[in-house]
Symmetry: C2
Subunit: 333 residues, 2 copies
């Protein structure tokens, strides 16, 4: 198992120690229960933004804590939801009287543990509002399943709602724009390899050298379908077809593209793939107005990419462009 | 070969098309000879900064073109130095009357092709000054070899000298600080896997699952020694010992750490490794004042990491913190 780790048991705290050591001006770690939070938390009254999820998907969410984005993140064990105690501690720490938003990806464990935390917080009269992220269009949007998973839209909601909270929007306004972003975003992913969870020590599944999985999630979950590996231009076409047919943007719509690597694909290949996506969007008459390309929602060292499109409006665009200062997204200050 | 590409022959132009499409406010591409340059080039009189090298090491140098860093980059074919025509065109395009600096990594082909370009430019009375980067301390510093390779210090020179040029320093001042950064920086790297150049279609060499290479370069070159894979804390100790024993920083020195992944190692493992480096630096009495952790000098999808330390002075620190706006380093604006 070719990894820079000390032991499978200490991967998460060891990672967080390094992240905080490299960014002491932005973030601090409360070790137990484990909460990564802004150093300037509670400095003023503002709507608090909290997210959490299984570790192994970095920089989601830990790399996005800081001015203009999240107030705190609750990192679980690898591919395992955070426990309610983490969520409760994070919420208590960030609640400044203006209310708190829980950004919850639609995974069973995550939804359950945020729900338990909210029931306990209600006894203290702290009542966070949940924004549920469910942008994965590889899953049918019906009542037959647990619903669509939360994927790349999470980053966009955290950035845009984070900017709204930072400029002083009230709870209703922050919740409203967060839900609007989720509603106007879709994600479809393709995986070229499996990944190796440290405690397992071997790949979750095997794939031949000429295969790829389409419609995968995060946390090493398998895809909807295994198909022959294609050229980048064809892969871009498949990803776009899936996203556009579900999102149905308005004619000529302004599009924000997040093309996230899954951890093991180099940036050069992601930009190459983005070039194909961009060209297709132009040909289809859309305006590819904003792009973010790199590793943002990952599954350890898995090779692959996830395409998220967001149909932008003026307010979203302004908030996207607003300053942000986190370990992994940093501009405008 | 699990890559997002269209064909091995078009990897470099296809990558550049995507990079420019995602960052149209910052960069533009001249296709022939291939030069990636700032969109605002020639807008004012300033010292020009140009670098170039084999592609496959992204974001070096293409991701570092923009205000506060490089004026132009000359991307060669994969792991192949740029040709003189590219360097000549880039220099002509950026020369504003204040002089030009060529940041040249100490690789035989790169040194030769920048040299040829300079001989031709001299006929036009354009006389760029070379700053040679040779921070790789895995190679003895003697006259027996072609000298030490240019590795991570390249990024630090580009950022710090780029900030000096941006604030209006003259040619002598920019060259002087660039050379000072190179002189006070060292790099030592460790590789966990080989990489697969697209035209070759298979790994350059094989490694067992319990092995690692220490003292590797870029472009898939093998290491000085193959040793058993160790825990992250031990690897951090080896990297630091090699760098510190060669750099010999002053007692209590302020240190900038660049911990660059090689392309296939996820960010979480890099931060984990950085945590160990940071703790060692503190124990040894140094001040780990700045850190940059992520994929900055890579070799396609190779797994591994390169540790660069720079002994900071006040001016370097101020220039490091100055605004930068490129595809891959962006802060302060």
């Amino acid at each position: 198992m070719k990894k820079f780790i000390n032991s499978p048991e200490t991967v998460v705290p060891d990672y967080l120690a390094g992240l905080v050591a490299a960014n002491p001006d932005i973030i601090a770690l409360d070790p137990s229960p484990r909460v990564l939070r802004r150093t300037d938390i509670g400095a003023r009254r503002k709507v608090g933004l909290i997210a959490g999820g299984g570790s192994g998907c970095e920089p989601l969410h830990t790399g996005f804590v800081g001015p203009g984005m999240l107030d705190a993140a609750c990192p679980g064990e690898i591919f395992t939801s955070p426990v309610p105690d983490q969520i409760i501690a994070a919420t208590r720490a960030t609640e400044s009287g203006a209310g708190t938003v829980h950004i919850v990806k639609n995974f069973t464990g995550e939804v359950m543990n945020f729900g338990i935390a909210q029931e306990i917080l209600a006894f203290e009269d702290i009542r966070p509002v949940t924004v549920l992220i469910n942008d994965d269009c590889s899953i049918p949007d019906d009542d037959e399943s647990a619903g669509r998973r939360g994927l790349g839209a999470t980053v966009l909601v955290e950035k845009i709602a984070g900017a709204a909270a930072e400029r002083g929007d009230d709870l209703d306004a922050v919740v409203s724009i967060a839900r609007r972003v989720n509603a106007r975003a879709r994600t479809f992913s393709v995986g070229l390899t499996s990944c190796i969870p440290p405690a397992r020590g071997k790949p979750i599944y095997q794939m031949a050298d000429d295969e790829m999985d389409i419609g995968i999630g995060i946390s090493g979950s398998p895809g909807r379908k295994r198909v022959p590996l294609r050229q980048a231009a064809e892969i871009a076409g498949v990803l776009l077809q899936e996203v556009l047919s579900d999102l149905k943007p308005a004619k000529g719509a302004r599009i924000l593209t997040l093309l996230s690597g899954l951890g093991g694909t180099p940036e050069s290949e992601l930009y190459l793939l983005y070039g194909e996506v961009h060209a297709c969007l132009m040909r289809a008459g859309y305006d590819p107005a904003r792009a973010l390309v790199g590793n943002y929602v990952t599954s350890l060292e898995q090779m692959g990419a996830a395409l998220t499109l967001l149909e932008l409006d003026d307010e979203m665009t302004e908030l996207w462009d607003a300053p942000v200062h986190t370990a992994d997204l940093r501009w405008g200050r």
